[in-house]
């Protein structure tokens, strides 16, 4: 933990220099590199670097999976890639629309990669554009300078294969779950699945889509062949048993759904449920008090219509 703080301090110092310091990456087998963001809420204490960011090096070129929350983080990622390989960056993939995953895209425009996302991603980006730009500017200030929305040109409807030479990535899009733009990436060579935020580890799962849709996507993922998974957020990849983590997430979502349904049946008010629903899950998750309350606020009104 202290190393993380130290690294963060070093980044802060070097941000003032012209060239971005490379992002700290964890090198996995099979030429996969992952950066772990820190668990901060998207609010005043957010610094633009909270999600997992990855790149995969194939024999012909490189694919990037999520780019972080600002142009600056994207530039640091770019530096980290160039430390490892000079192959062309062929694809920049966004696992969904959330600002912590997409605002580094602009750092790759010069490489002219193909930007790839869920078929609904361009639409979702457009709808959220003004709000995202304003609120992220407010949160990040100067550290958000130059960040912009860069939409995908290759859209995934069902599945899409991306060739990197010696390996092929299989992208799959899902119906509304965590968001309405969720996408997974499967690398056959390493049997690794990038779940985006369909799988939360440590951090409280946040619902910006459809809790019931998400539960059915979890059922699909449970039978996925991947041996390893890289979730959208995690402090370190130490637990290879990603199916167990999927079960934990499912348990939280079911507890939340059942508690809210019980609250509605009793004729309670949403404000009360915001403090009580899924309380039994509190000790298992980070940022629980903030994210769980927000989840209740987001889904209670629609569940009143079941």
């Amino acid at each position: 933990m202290s190393l993380r703080i130290l690294l963060g301090f070093v980044f802060t110092l070097t941000c003032c220099l012209v060239k971005a310091a490379p992002l700290q990456m964890e090198a996995l087998d099979h030429d996969i590199y992952v950066h772990h963001g820190v668990h901060e809420d998207l609010s005043e204490n957010y610094h633009g670097d909270i999600c997992n960011i990855s790149f995969i090096v194939g024999s012909k070129g490189i694919a990037v999976i999520d780019t972080g929350g600002s142009l600056k983080v994207g530039q640091q990622l770019h530096e980290a890639i160039r430390k490892v390989s000079s192959l062309p960056i062929l694809y920049v993939i966004n696992t969904h629309v959330h600002p912590d995953h997409i605002f580094g895209n602009a750092a790759f425009l010069q490489d002219k990669p193909i930007f790839v996302g869920h078929e609904k991603l361009p639409d979702a980006m457009e709808r959220r554009r003004e709000n995202y730009l304003r609120i992220n500017q407010q949160w990040l200030g100067d550290a958000f300078a130059g960040s912009e929305i860069v939409k995908p040109s290759a859209l995934v409807k069902g599945t899409l294969k991306l060739e990197l030479g010696d390996r092929t990535l299989l992208l799959t899009s899902y119906p509304t779950a965590h968001t309405n733009t969720d996408l997974t990436v499967f690398d056959n060579k390493s049997s690794t699945l990038w779940t985006g935020d369909l799988l939360f580890v440590e951090r409280t799962p946040s619902i910006d889509g459809d809790i019931k849709g998400w539960l059915s996507v979890i059922n699909e993922l449970k039978v996925h062949e991947a041996e390893n998974a890289i979730p959208g957020h995690s402090s370190i990849l130490k637990d290879s048993n990603w199916k167990q983590q999927l079960n934990n997430e499912e348990r939280y979502l079911w507890t939340l759904l059942n508690d809210i349904r019980a609250s509605i049946k009793k004729g309670e008010v949403m404000e009360k449920a915001m403090s009580t629903a899924a309380a039994s899950e509190r000790s298992y998750w980070q940022l629980f008090d903030i994210v769980n309350r927000r989840n209740v606020n987001n889904i209670y009104p629609s569940l009143e219509w079941e």
Binding site: E44, K120, P122, D123, A124, E126, R127, R128, E130, N131, R134, I135, Q137, Q138, T176, N180, G267, V269, M270, E271, M274, I290, R293, R294, V296, N297, N298, Y300, P301, S302, E304, W305
Partner: protein
């Protein structure tokens, strides 16, 4: 055409306000106040109070409760309450027209908030005196909306009403009533990617509540009221009867529902 220009105006206003500080901007109120009430005098209203979060978890559905600690028998009885959100592109969120059947006015609703803002309840008496109560809420992103879904299904479901009265009812006492109406409440500010313009406004604009055919409360509803408008309020039935509601959308369609109280 006029409407389109107006909407673009709203958006430019929003863009300009980026420059303002992150916290609720008190400078907006004089402008909003003047546009709605001109130079009419306004007194503080200690008898109007709010229950609201300091920070809203979701700008799309901010829970807000208003209470007026007086009845219609009071010399300065409030007949109308204007609910305004200073920093929303369209500040007027709802107007509540009260009657003596409500007893002491107490109403919970859910509103949209685009950014940190002061919320204002302006009460108006029968002879036109104005009273003001304010509360500050920090929030983000409730107006742009993330419209999605099948248009046919949304239209088919729009207007479905749930009306519930607390039971068993205690005649002559404050009785909790919940009204919900399914509706997307499109603001007119949401982008239409096909036309490169805006998705037209589509919202419930009025709900009129009656008890045994006598007026209980009329609400003029604006797009600052959240999707699937929600009102939970007290009214005082003196005898068994039928509570009815008639809602109207901005396209002129009417929706109604009633429930027996006994």
């Amino acid at each position: 055409m006029f409407k389109r220009t107006l909407l673009i105006g709203c958006l430019s206003f929003m863009a300009f306000s980026n420059l303002a500080s992150a916290e609720s901007d008190p400078k907006k109120w004089p402008v909003v106040r003047e546009s709605f009430f001109g130079d009419r005098p306004m007194a503080e209203a200690p008898f109007i109070s709010f229950t609201a979060p300091r920070r809203a978890e979701s700008g799309a559905q901010v829970p807000l409760e208003m209470m007026v600690d007086q009845t219609q028998a009071d010399a300065n009885a409030i007949k109308t309450i204007y609910l305004l959100v200073d920093s929303n592109p369209i500040p007027l969120t709802a107007t509540y027209h009260l009657t003596d059947k409500l007893g002491k006015f107490k109403l919970s609703t859910r509103i949209r908030m685009e950014m940190d803002s002061y919320i204002r309840a302006v009460g108006e008496t029968a002879d036109g005196k104005l009273y003001l109560a304010s509360v500050e809420i920090r929030a983000a992103g409730g107006c742009g909306g993330t419209v999605d879904g099948d248009e046919k299904e949304i239209r088919a479901a729009a207007g479905k009403i749930k009306l519930n009265v607390e039971s068993p009812v205690k005649l002559g006492e404050a009785t909790q009533t919940t009204f919900m109406i399914k509706h997307p409440m499109r603001t007119g500010l949401q982008r239409d990617l096909v036309s490169q313009g805006f998705v037209p406004a589509f919202y419930i604009q009025k709900a009129a509540f009656t008890y045994n055919n006598e007026k209980v409360m009329d609400v003029d509803i604006g797009v600052g009221t959240s999707e699937d408008p929600y009102f939970r309020f007290n009214f005082t039935p003196k005898a068994p009867g039928v509570l009815a509601v008639k809602a109207t959308d901005n396209e002129g369609k009417e929706f109604s529902q009633q429930t027996e109280v006994r």
